[in-house]
């Protein structure tokens, strides 16, 4: 049986978590390490059944610290890898998310958000980890995070997460939630030839003299890669070194300020310099908008109804959905702020992404939040009411 025969294609009525697993497999993921946690467990369950069918490896580790590490280790063997979790596990993964960022290791982490803090609300939705996604691991870095609104998009964005992760040699987060993860809807899976798959730049045995190889060189003249240097997998004869310490282009530790500057800048600029490529937005009716609803994930989706209601009543509401949450579309928000009346930011937390919108609006337009902590998706009436308020109708 060849691997393509093991891919699920066609239309299926699939739970979001399962769609994430199928997206990963389509993207070429062949290693999953995880730890059971509601509401992400179904991703692991699906992977445990599906990976052995496509010559992949599934393993349940002893905790999320180990899961994240095993995913990183597998990635350095040259295999695309993934893990999935929710709140408490996400906190544990922060330590080695940092290792993945520092060592420039591709891998994908899906967070099916539930209510927090702490053990919180295991079975119920929230979007309370959005800032943790950005800042949760210590130190300065940039991160890529995507946010789907449906099982179909959980499938699509998991593939995109792998592509970005491979291209930029960095862990990528899929920030979904209990609602989308546990929702079942139609998912259309195209045949493999129609899906864009990106693989990491890689040197293989014999491609170049090992002593001339630099694991963190920027532009590699011999290899022709322009964003990151090609990765060597373990066992290919390059005898490379990687470390979580501040390092130079060899991956060797260097303990000084200059090295830290070089190292941190490198990690940040590879994402900042490609913002336009990474950021995806869905926009409707922004041209004439006086009020713009900025949202993401399930909250963006449930805002569509109140937006329609408000538009029917003659309020010029626009819709801006953040498909990419991090990096944040600073410029787009700043441009809009100059010409609209107000922003409305619905989210299932007490105000996280609203801070970004406020920062980018920089006082040019007021920002209204629609917030609640975890447990339930947003009430459409509340969103509609806030839109009216933002439009000055209340």
């Amino acid at each position: 049986m060849n691997e393509q025969q093991g891919l699920l294609i066609g239309e299926h009525f699939l739970m979001g978590d399962y769609a994430a697993a199928e997206g990963a497999i389509m993207a070429g993921c062949r290693f999953f390490a995880g730890y059971p946690i509601t509401p992400a467990t179904e991703i692991a369950e699906r992977m445990s059944i599906r990976l052995p069918q496509v010559n992949g490896i599934y393993i349940q580790m002893e905790d999320e610290l180990a899961s994240m590490n095993a995913a990183l280790g597998a990635s350095w063997s040259g295999v695309k890898s993934m893990t999935a979790t929710s709140g408490p596990g996400f906190s544990l993964m922060m330590e080695n998310l940092g290792l993945g960022i520092m060592t420039e290791t591709p891998c994908v982490l899906v967070n099916v958000q539930r209510g927090g803090p702490s053990t919180g609300l295991p079975t119920l939705v929230s979007q309370q980890d959005m800032m943790q996604a950005r800042w949760g691991s210590h130190g300065d870095y940039e991160i890529i995070a995507l946010s789907p609104t449906s099982p179909q998009e959980l499938f699509d964005l998991t593939i995109r997460a792998f592509n970005l992760s491979e291209k930029f040699r960095t862990p990528v987060l899929v920030m979904t939630d209990a609602e989308v993860g546990h929702m079942t809807e139609r998912v259309a899976i195209p045949p493999p030839g129609e899906v864009e798959i990106i693989n990491r730049p890689q040197v293989r045995k014999g491609d170049m003299p090992p002593d001339k190889y630099r694991i963190y060189q920027d532009l590699h003249p011999d290899c022709g890669f322009d964003t990151v240097s090609p990765m060597a997998a373990a066992g290919e004869g390059y005898r490379f070194h990687i470390t979580g310490l501040t390092h130079d282009e060899h991956g060797y530790p260097v303990m000084n300020a200059e090295a830290n500057e070089w190292n941190v800048n490198r990690l940040m600029s590879k994402i900042r310099d490609h913002r336009d490529e990474i950021i995806q937005l869905e926009e409707h009716n922004l041209d004439d908008a006086e009020v713009v609803v900025v949202s993401y994930g399930i909250s963006a989706r449930t805002s569509l109804w109140p937006i329609e209601q408000a538009r029917n009543d003659g309020i010029r509401v626009g819709y801006l959905r953040l498909i990419t949450i991090w990096p944040f579309p600073e410029k787009r928000i700043a441009d809009l702020a100059r010409r609209i009346r107000a922003f409305v930011v619905p989210e299932i937390n007490m105000g996280q992404i609203i801070r970004e919108v406020e920062r980018c609006a920089a006082g040019q337009a007021p920002v209204f939040g629609v917030n609640r902590p975890g447990g339930e998706i947003l009430n459409p009436e509340k969103v509609e009411k806030t839109i009216r308020q933002a439009a000055g109708q209340m």
Partner: protein, 522 residues
């Protein structure tokens, strides 16, 4: 504390680094140059530290394996955690991974599982492996994953200045136990044995040759192997404890030597000692009085690579069968009429198939009737066996709000679900109940239509009471008419276990006929 390394920052000029004409790799000054990262030397370790010996012994073992067992050292990867020992990965010319504190073992686990041809060695310290990484250590031993863990035990946290650790002997001094350690240490080989490791040994660095033999054995061992290396920490541990006390701190080498002499005195080689008895004994002042050394267990047991291959085989067979069913799915033309947003609530208790009934409806609506549907499920922690609810929204238009706002249709199979959900049914909505399980109260709502069927009884009469949900679905399809019958039949056939297709179809049909009769009467 080890000397921090700033020289290298100058030598390897950052970002502008130009390789010299000569290979950077081999300097030719030391017999092990080929295996050392010469450009990284001198190392950061203190004089008199045992780590150098541990490293060179390890390299000797590798070179022996290369020479005598044709090992390809390109296929050996070394993973370290944090600490003085953790720096080993940075000095040895192998694919080397210096990970986070305590996490070398899970990192190595991923590396090995994803590329079984690699020989993966974890080389780290006692604090890293038995302290912060203790959980990973016992679980790797339990899995019997085919990696080799080498733990250099110097009885304290050296890099941070000599704090007490999980292996510090009872009564011994550290910077944080100036009055003597009041805790008790791990016996690491015993811990590994309890976890299920199939090879474990202990040597002091004094016994370098024996250690090298053991390392060869351990690396060649199939399954989880563990070697504890007792080594002097000349700067920290030896400063506070009798073995090296009183010596001039300027003479670190001397301190290390004194500790080695002490090892010679107290080391006792006793192969095959039960790991429980393979102890490190101390007197009342924390002075080590005996170290049992040797290979305690060398008991090859198959790691799980073979099991993984076997599992993959059955998994693929299962996939081929599943794929056949998928490929044989009927293609229905789909509905062309407009279906307004319809919200269906299903409720009952766990085990009645409420979740799967919701799934059958949603699948019928989307895949076969080509409508849109969102299915959400609700079960609290009590729901494993307790109350179960499942909600389906069906529509021709995109479903922005996936939750029920005005449920128009309810399938209710328990009294509890009746009490919980029926209040929410919108006026004019239709309620379907299993009237064998739900008794309508006297104040039952008059603003809704109610249809009852003895679903569980009917299913039981047909030979499988578990098909009661299917009876309800047939009944609902006939009267409710949101999803077409052919779509429901196909979805049902896809969803139930092959052996029960027949009884489920019969049950569906029974419910459907009863529904039609009632509808005809209206």
């Amino acid at each position: 504390m080890p000397r921090e390394d700033t020289i290298n920052g100058e030598r390897l000029k950052l970002s502008g680094y130009e390789p010299t004409d000569q290979s950077d790799w081999v300097t030719g000054l030391h017999p092990m140059d080929e295996m050392l990262r010469g450009e990284r030397l001198p190392h950061i370790w203190c004089q008199g530290c045992g780590l150098g010996t541990a490293l060179t012994t390890f390299i000797s073992a590798l070179q022996w394996l290369e020479k005598n067992q044709k090992w390809d050292l390109d296929k050996v990867a070394i993973v370290s955690g944090i600490g003085c020992t953790g720096r080993v990965a940075g000095y040895i010319r192998l694919d080397s991974f210096h990970t986070t504190h305590g996490r070398a073992i899970p990192f190595a686990t991923g590396l090995k599982l994803a590329k079984p041809e690699l020989n993966v060695v974890v080389f780290s310290g006692d604090g890293d492996i038995a302290g912060i990484g203790g959980n990973h250590f016992i679980h790797a031993a339990r899995r019997n994953i085919d990696i080799n863990v080498i733990c250099v035990n110097n009885f304290n946290y050296g890099m941070t200045g000599g704090q007490v650790g999980p292996t510090t002997p009872h009564g011994a001094r550290a910077v944080t136990t100036q009055y003597g350690n009041f805790e008790y240490p791990f016996n690491l080989p015993y811990l590994a044995a309890a976890g299920g490791a199939s090879f474990m040994a202990r040597w002091t660095v004094l016994h370098a040759r024996r250690l090298e033999w053991t390392l060869r054995q351990a690396m060649a061992h199939r399954g989880f192997s563990f070697v504890e290396i007792i080594a002097p920490c000349s700067t920290s541990y030896a400063r506070w404890n009798p073995e090296g006390q009183g010596l001039d701190p300027q003479k670190l080498r001397r301190r290390g030597l004194e500790v080695m002499k002490h090892y010679q005195k107290v080391g006792k080689i006793a192969h095959h000692t039960h790991p429980k008895d393979a102890t490190i004994t101390v007197d009342g002042n924390g002075l080590i009085t005996e170290i049992i050394e040797g290979v305690f267990i060398d008991d090859p047991k198959p790691d799980f690579q073979a099991a993984i291959e076997q599992m993959a085989h059955s998994a693929k067979e299962k996939w081929i069968a599943a794929k056949k069913t998928l490929d044989e799915r009927l293609q229905l033309p789909g509905r062309t009429d407009y279906v307004p947003r319809t919200e269906v609530q299903l409720g009952g208790f766990g085990g009645q198939g409420i979740m799967s009934a919701g799934n059958i409806i949603g699948q019928a609506a989307t895949i076969y009737d080509k409508l849109r549907a969102s299915l959400t499920q609700s079960y609290g922690p009590e729901a494993r066996g307790g109350a179960a609810g499942s909600q389906v929204v069906i529509a021709s238009d995109p479903i922005h709000h996936p939750h029920l706002i005005e449920p128009t249709s309810m399938i209710i199979m328990s009294q509890e679900a009746y009490a919980k959900y029926v209040v929410n049914l919108s006026a004019g909505g239709i309620l379907f109940i299993d009237d064998g399980l739900v008794r309508l109260p006297r104040n039952h709502r008059q603003d809704i239509e109610t249809f009852g069927i003895s679903a569980t009884q009917i299913a039981e009469d047909l030979g499988n009471s578990r098909a009661a949900n299917t009876v309800m679905l047939g009944f609902w399809t006939a009267i409710g008419g949101v999803v077409s019958k052919p779509a429901m039949i196909q979805s049902l056939t896809d969803s139930v276990p092959p052996k029960t297709i027949e009884v489920n179809l019969k049950s569906f049909e029974a419910g459907y006929r009863k529904g039609l009769r009632i509808k005809g009467r209206q």
